[in-house]
Structures are given as C-alpha cells and as structure tokens.
Amino acid sequence: METLLSLSNISKWYPVGRDLLGRPSGMLRAVNDISLEVKRGETLALVGESGCGKSTLARLMLRLLEPSGGRVIFDGEDISHWSARRMRPLRARMQLIFQDPFSSLNPRMTVGDVLEEPLRINGWTRSRRRARVAELLATVGLHAAHAERYPHEFSGGQRQRVGIARALACGPEFIVGDEPVSALDVLVQAQIINLLGDLKAQLGLTLVMIAHDLSVVRHMADRVGVMYLGEIVELTDTRTLFERPRHPYTRALIEAVPQPNPHIRPSRDLLEGESPSPLVAAQGCRFAERCPLVRDRCHSDPPVLRETLEGGGSHQVACHFWREADRGTPIATAHGQGSARYRQRLALFQEQLARQQRVAQQSTTDCPTIARCSTPNH
C-alpha cells in the first residue's frame, strides 16, 4: 500500500519551569523519537493512557504543532516546518474530529454555518455551499432541516455527527479522530463507529483514531500502535495485537478492560501504580517501574521499537524480553459470545428490526436516512 503520511524520528518537547535566569528548567518529552507510516486507505489506531502523548502525536501528524525534531511527510512533501499560511491549502485534505462534541461546536452558530465555514474559506460559492451542507447532513444521517438549528438542540451523538460532517466538508482524504466516541453512550457509540466505518469505505478515507478504549479500537482499526510515555511500544495489525500481544504493557492494557461477561471475572494481572512523569528522562525502559517482567537490563538499556517477525507481516515491539511477554491470548480476548439464549434473542431482535426497516423503506423510499455522499467537484 502507498504511504500517505510518514513520520520519521519525530519529537515534541516542551520546556517547563523557569530557573532564576528565566531559562527552562526541564523538558517535557510529550512525543519522543517516533517513526511511523500511515498507509493510504487504512485505519490506524493509537492507544494509551492519558498523558502518553497520543493527542500530541495526532496534532503533529496534522501539523497543528511544529515538531521539535524529525520530519512529517504528507503525500511525498516534507511539511515539517511549513508556515500556517503554506499549510492552508493542505488543510482541506487533512481534518480532525474532536472528542467533545459539546465544546467543539460554536454554540452561537447554526449547524449550517458551522458546516459552511470551511467551505467558505476554501472558496466555494454560496449556492454550492448550500447544496453541500444538505449533502453532508444526509451523509452523516441527519436531515437537511437540521442546518437551521443550533448545537444545543442536539444530543451528544447528533453533535458528533455534525463534527464528522464538518471534518468531511471539504472532501479530505486524511482524517484524525481524537477520541471521537469516548464521550458518547454505548448505543450512540455503536452508531458512530458504524458511521465512521461506512464513510471510510464510501469515501476512501485514511483514518487515524486516537483512543484509550481498546474495545473500540478492535472494531475500527486495521493496525494499532500502543503508546507509553511519548513512545510507541508496540505496533502491529489489530488481530495480532489482541491475540498475541508481545509487550507487557499492551497485555496489561487489554486485561484491564472490564469484560461484559460475569463468568470470567478472571484473576487478572492488574497493573500497579500510574504512569510516571514524562519530565523525568528515564535511563532505561520507561515502563520498567510498572513492568512485571522487569530485569536489571531494563533499567539501564532503553529498548527500541524493533521488528519481531521474520518473513511476512509486521509486529514491532520495544521490549528486550518480548519473547517472555508473549504468553498467548489474553483472557479478555478469548471469552465466548454470550449464552445461547442471549444469542437466540439477539437474532430475533435483529431480524425483527431488519423487517421493520424494510417496511419503513418501502413506504418512504424518497426519504434518505443514510444517504450516499459524492465527492465534491472542485
């Protein structure tokens, strides 16, 4: 697959504190020497605990932040140090969906205005903008009439649909979602996850999804990168990551997710302690403090992200002892699909739902609920 975005040895350090002479007294290493490629058409997820640098990395990808070191290459061009002005034409091609649909929409603008703004900036005429807004609303499962309303008139899920429509407005090819579903209820979350999947397929998007929820990632991503304290510690395809994690941190992260199955209540390895401060430059492995497999070497010799597969595929791990960490499938990913009775009733429920939807569609064929979206004609 063709590479759309490539990061090489990218870092973002922030000076913190001031000494007597006003010089920074320390460096916060939010992102530390990460190299990563995003392939065209894939969904890459970045997961980790708060403070691991995943949002900073996302903003570096979109060049909303300037890297302290390393390079950002988008579609063959090195944009690492482009000015905001020079970036502007590129903005239509790369977009961000925010986490909080409550604070990311201006409460004083109607949804129509919110969606028109990026189009206006990109020089669309008034009549084309109008048509495009209606088209966008249909794409994300809202009605054209919603354009007249204000954000407070919508539920969280609907607002997130507006946020997604805004990101789609100018027909981007690359979208970064910064925890796009973590503020939503589980039923709404499922709706939005499906919507993002549909849109990706319809529009041929490349997605980077930032998440702290591993179960969401499993449903959305082709590949997953696990971050810890500003570094990627494991990177591989989604299935492999969940079934054969090779970094002790990844395993702990998977096992920590409470599973909707009262029969497994497993004896789990709970990760003790919390992420240490990114202010302290570690001598060795940054995970050493909390690692169950820690050895002397880990404290002195920082592991680098390395390929652990020979031949086909890719499974990169930053751990000296990944062979020991690779202990088969975690309990959380191996349990069953629920009881027979539950499965039977779910099947009945879904059949009935499908039957009802068919009837509804026959009666109102002219009312598009989840409509297609054509790419904008520039």
């Binding site: 589980v186 499906n194 992260l253 409470p258 009262p262 009733r345 009945l348 009935q352 939807q357």
Partner: protein, 353 residues
C-alpha cells in the same frame, strides 16, 4: 503486579445468604422536574432493594435517571425537583421528607457517595487532611489528633502511598486515580452502611479503573457495606455487581442477578444494550444498533417507554405500561415487557401467519 483472588460467580451469587439485612429499600419512587408550568416526569415508579454486603448496579444511558435516583437517596436533588410519590428507606428509616439537619447527619455517616469527577468533588482550597478530618469529626466525637490518625488509616486502606504526607497536600497535587482513592477513603471513613458510587471510574484510564474497582471490592469485603454502583458500562456491571437493574427513560425495565442478566436477558432494550458493546473478543462484525434515541421527557409515550424504538412494539405497548413482573422460574429476575421472552413472539407470529 499482583495476582488477585478469583471470585467465582457461584460464590458471589450466594454471598447474601448469611446476612439478609436490607440496607436500602426504594419503593415506587416517582420524581419530576418543574419546567415553566408543567412537571416533567424523570423517574416513574422506581423500586429496588439492596442488602448489606451486596453490590447493586444501576445501569443505563445518560438521562435514564440513574444519577437522579442516587441523588434523591442522598437528598441532594436540585430545587426544581419534585418528589411525586414513593419512599426511600435507609435501614428502615424513611429519608423522604426528612429535614435538612437530619439528612446532614446521615450523609457521610450512614450513607456516603463517591462521584464521577475526582477533579471537581474535592475542594481545591483545602488540604486532603483538612477535608478528611472535617468529614470524620462531623460525625464522630474524636479530637483532632485521633481524627488525623483515623484519616491516615483510611488512606492506607485505600492503598495511597505515603499517606501521612498526602494529608498535607492539596487536591491538585494528586493524580485523578489518587483523588478517587481519597474520595473513597473519605466516603468510607465513617463506616457507612450504604456507599453510592456514581460512575466512579468513568473519568479514569482503564488501568486505573481496574485498580479502583478492585479497591472498592476489597473494602466492601472488609466492611460489609452495601454498594449502589451507578454505571453505563456493562463491563463494570459484569465485574463488580451481584444484582443489576437496567433503567430506561426513568423506569427500571429489567432487574436480575448479574449472571441472569447476561445469560438470560429478557427486555429488548437489554438485549440491544448488550449487543452494542464493542468487544475485545472475536466478533468483529458491524455493531448491531438500536435506531433512534431516548424520547425526551415531554414526548414520553404513554405505554412502554421503549416502544418508540422497539421493533416488536404493537398498540398495547404504545398504550399500556408493562408491569415489572417476575420471569418464570426465578425469584430474582423481573422484566417490564409485554413481549418477553422474545422467542414466544416468534411462536405467535408463526401461528398468526
């Protein structure tokens, strides 16, 4: 990392038998919010009971009334809330209509609450020690030194490292997980009969969430406190609960032991809720989705409140409220649905066709 003891389900299921002491009994609680001229119905006939040492999970989406239920138990409702009927008894004592001072004596003593946001539920202007010691001395006749000692003990039990020093720190100096530990230590300081935990881990990272849930479970084992766990996460229910009540639009629509709920879900909403959880295991198909959204309080259907979204709904569902009735063969399982169990619908349809 520590290996934690397994809690076999059979054991938790039988946990209540030695001590059937009922700590909390909510009976037919109805509540509304005054808006302009009308009163919008928020809770409608909510009933449940909770025994000592047990954990009851109230689960549902935002706006289903689970937090309002907990606030009405604590007597912390907003001024525009109006109790329309029912009763709430803590250890046999009626809480509704209790005057403010008596409620204040109970809060933090016989009943305590841990909130979702550890960032905002501690006062930033006072040290952890000030706040804990105040909470202890409000309800116990202890001098400052003794109270301080007790606070340190509680912090140690909540597994907060360097407990003594923490007492002199301000909330902003602690991480989110540590703050939630402090909240739990403070809530349990006076050995309450009832602990309400309102989404205690929603704002936390998943690894910290696992630690906090484990802490609550362990402290509950030590103290025999009854825990009312408010959550939207069915994973948390499966992991922490003994019993569970599913709420939808201000009503309890299904009540069961945790195992019953997951193995034998009756209500179509419960089934939809269970199916829409993104799972870590193999099933990677498209997530099943219940279309539409929860009706707003001013457009509630007069019958079953889920009828606007339920594919099985017929005229009776739209018009008549289904009672919360026992599921055949179980004393602990009840469902409010005219159509449950769904496989019977199939039989009727076949007969009809």
């Amino acid at each position: 990392m520590s290996r934690l003891a397994t809690i076999p389900v059979s054991e938790t299921g039988a946990k209540a038998s030695p001590d059937q002491h009922c700590v909390l009994r909510v009976d037919d609680l109805s509540l509304g919010f005054r808006a302009d001229t009308e009163v919008l119905s928020i809770l409608d006939g909510v009933s449940f009971e909770l025994n000592a040492g047990r954990t009851l999970c109230l689960v549902g989406e935002s706006g289903c009334g689970k937090s309002v239920t907990s606030l009405s138990i604590m007597g912390l409702l907003a001024d525009n809330a109006e109790i329309l009927g029912g009763s709430i008894r803590l250890d046999g004592r009626e809480l509704l209509g209790l005057e403010r001072r008596s409620l204040e004596r109970l809060r933090g003593d016989a009943m305590a609450m841990v909130f979702q946001e550890p960032m905002t539920s501690l006062n930033p202007a006072f040290t952890i020690g000030d706040q804990m010691i105040e909470a202890i001395r409000c309800h116990r006749d202890l001098n400052a030194d003794k109270a301080r000692q007790h606070a340190v003990e509680m912090l140690i039990r909540a597994r907060i490292p360097a407990a003594e020093e923490r007492l002199n720190e301000y909330p902003h100096q602690l991480s989110g997980g540590m703050r939630q530990r402090v909240m739990i230590a403070m809530a349990l300081a006076n050995d309450p009969q009832l602990l309400i935990a309102d989404e205690p881990t929603t704002a936390l990272d998943v690894t910290i969430q696992a630690q906090i849930l484990e802490l609550i479970r362990r402290l509950q084992c030590d103290t025999g406190t009854a825990v009312l766990m408010i959550t939207h996460d069915l994973g948390v229910v499966a992991e922490t609960g003994d019993d569970v009540a599913v709420m939808y639009a201000g009503r309890i629509i299904e009540k069961a032991s945790v195992v019953e709920l997951f193995d034998d879900p009756q209500h179509p909403y419960t089934i939809g809720l269970l199916s829409s959880i993104p799972r870590l295991d193999g099933n990677l198909e498209r997530l099943p989705v219940i279309p539409g959204a929860v009706p707003t309080p001013n457009e509630m259907p007069s019958g079953c409140r889920f009828s606007t979204r339920c594919p099985f709904a017929d005229e009776r569902c739209l018009e008549q409220v289904p009672p919360l009735g026992e599921v055949a063969g179980s004393e602990t399982h009840a469902v409010a649905c005219w159509k449950a169990p769904l496989e019977h619908q199939l039989a009727y349809q076949e007969v009809g066709a």
